[in-house]
């Protein structure tokens, strides 16, 4: 069913009994042209664009839990394209443009809210670094604005401008950045892919990758063997785990990142605000809760939960930036498992195995990339060549010495 004002009125008059399930729950067929491992945002978007843009409709997405049960539903929903390096920025801007047309494209409300993303600075050095980043954005045609202290104060009067150690001197603003409803993104792509004939197979865990003569012939799963012409891995968080089934060792460590949400408040924080003195980011959901997070815990983990030392550190940063937060009660915290790559940038790439493609290494920036990641991965699978904006995200960049190290931290995955 196509959603419209008319369909809403009709169903409201019919006591909302007329709504049909949004996607089918098919039994897996014995063979598909393309199988995608991972029914999260990126896997579903890949399947959608394969069918929509590249005409490949004999596609299955295999998900070990339920659709969108991983990181696409565990992030802080921030959407932005304020990267600095030429390997990154065109890709994230491509993603931003897809976000801007996504609701019309999917006929689904993903609640994109371009409320502006502000990164604060606290010293002359940080200001210079942000100017450099802003110039990097302008060079790729993306607007960035340097806002002075009084400008920031007009937008966000509740900030701690006179902090003794980290006074707020200004910020870099991307007005087009903002937030989107994370689950709706997964659901919208799932519905779109299903309508184009893609089989979305839930509760189906891949346990092995079968190969003959150096090519993938299919996957062993908890629902039996499923053959495929091409295989795409989009299992970020567990990429190493899945790639190991094809004897691939990846430049990735899995780490846990925590996120937090408070009780619902009246509208008070209008933007996404990123604290430059540590790593802390906050926005207010449409339900009223303040959604925030900080850095990864720093040790390898597949546990989807973090420890209290990091939780305390995140709270301290939040209260240092907005003293009023000390009066707000935290409702929930949770953790997600991140593919931390060795340079902090993602991988959308062919692999040494001919018909196996990899989408991995999203660190904690995967949500904003969902549309472009799906588009570029579908482009790679369909055409066998990388999409121009994702051409730097190759798996072999590490051996060739072409890292995309936005943070300048070197091959230390827990520092990106």
């Amino acid at each position: 069913m196509r959603y419209s004002a008319l369909s809403l009125v009709k169903n409201a008059l019919g006591r909302n009994l007329g709504w049909a399930p949004v996607w089918r729950e098919p039994e897996p067929r014995p063979h598909y042209d393309v199988v995608i491992v991972g029914g999260g945002g990126h896997g579903l978007a890949t399947a959608y664009y394969l069918a929509r843009e590249f005409g490949i409709r004999n596609v299955a997405v295999l998900e070990k839990g339920y659709l969108g049960s991983g990181n696409v539903g565990r992030n802080t929903t921030i959407v932005r394209s304020n990267y600095m390096l030429p390997g990154n920025e065109p890709f994230y801007e491509f993603s931003m443009k897809l976000w801007e047309g996504l609701e019309r494209e999917l006929n689904y409300n993903v609640m994109l809210s371009q409320r502006g993303v502000m990164i604060l600075y606290h010293s002359d050095g940080e200001r210079d670094a942000l100017i450099r980043r802003g110039n990097g954005m302008w060079m790729e045609g993306v607007a960035a604005e340097l806002i002075d202290r009084e400008g920031v104060r007009r937008m966000m009067p509740f900030l701690n401008f006179d902090h003794a150690r980290f006074p707020i001197l200004g910020g870099l603003l991307q007005r087009r950045g903002g937030t989107a409803r994370h689950d709706a993104v997964a659901w919208g792509y799932a519905r779109g892919a299903d309508r184009l004939g893609v089989d979305l197979i839930q509760n189906c865990e891949v346990t092995g990758i079968r190969r003959e003569a150096g090519r993938v012939t299919g996957v062993e799963t908890t629902c039996g063997f499923i053959g495929c012409g091409k295989l795409g891995l989009a299992a970020a968080g567990h990429s190493s785990h899945v790639a190991q089934m094809a004897d691939l060792s990846l430049p990735i460590e899995s780490h846990v990142l925590q996120a937090f949400v408070t009780e619902g408040l009246k509208p008070c924080i209008d933007h996404v605000i990123i604290y430059g003195a540590g790593h802390f980011y906050i926005s207010q959901s449409d339900k009223g809760g303040l959604v925030f997070g900080g850095e990864i815990d720093g040790f390898g983990s597949y546990a989807q939960r973090g420890n209290l030392a990091t939780a305390e550190h995140v709270m301290e940063e939040g209260v240092a930036m907005i003293p009023g937060l000390s009066r707000v009660r935290v409702l929930r915290s949770w953790g997600g498992v991140m593919d931390m790559s060795m340079d902090g940038s993602p991988i959308i790439s062919p692999t040494p195995i001919d018909n196996l493609y990899l989408n991995a290494g999203w660190c904690y920036g995967g949500f904003k990339a969902t549309p472009a990641s799906g588009f570029c991965f579908a482009h790679l699978i369909a055409k066998g060549e990388t999409h121009p904006v994702a051409r730097f995200f190759r798996l072999d960049r590490f051996e060739r010495g072409h890292m995309i190290d936005e943070a300048g931290a070197g091959p230390q995955p827990n520092l990106h």
Binding site: S249, E253, F299
Partner: protein, 73 residues
């Protein structure tokens, strides 16, 4: 946490492939793993910690320097 303790530094004249594997590639197991940690809150020694990445259980701890010298720490 300073990283994977199962990687052994190759000889300085080892192949590019060996150095690439040492610097960039990780087994990243879901389960029992050996890692280097530093005891910053106490003795400041570097330690080799055997830990389960799926449950966070710590199974054993050894002094990294003594282990490297071949001693049972």
């Amino acid at each position: 946490m300073t990283g994977d303790a199962t990687r052994l530094r190759p000889a300085s004249d080892a192949s590019d492939e060996a150095w690439h594997a040492y610097v960039y590639l990780r087994a990243n197991p879901k389960g029992v793993h050996l890692e280097h940690w530093q005891h910053v809150g106490g003795c400041r020694r570097f330690l080799v910690v055997e830990r389960n990445t799926a449950t966070h259980d710590v199974l054993s701890v050894a002094d990294a320097a003594e282990l490297a010298r071949g001693g049972a720490a």
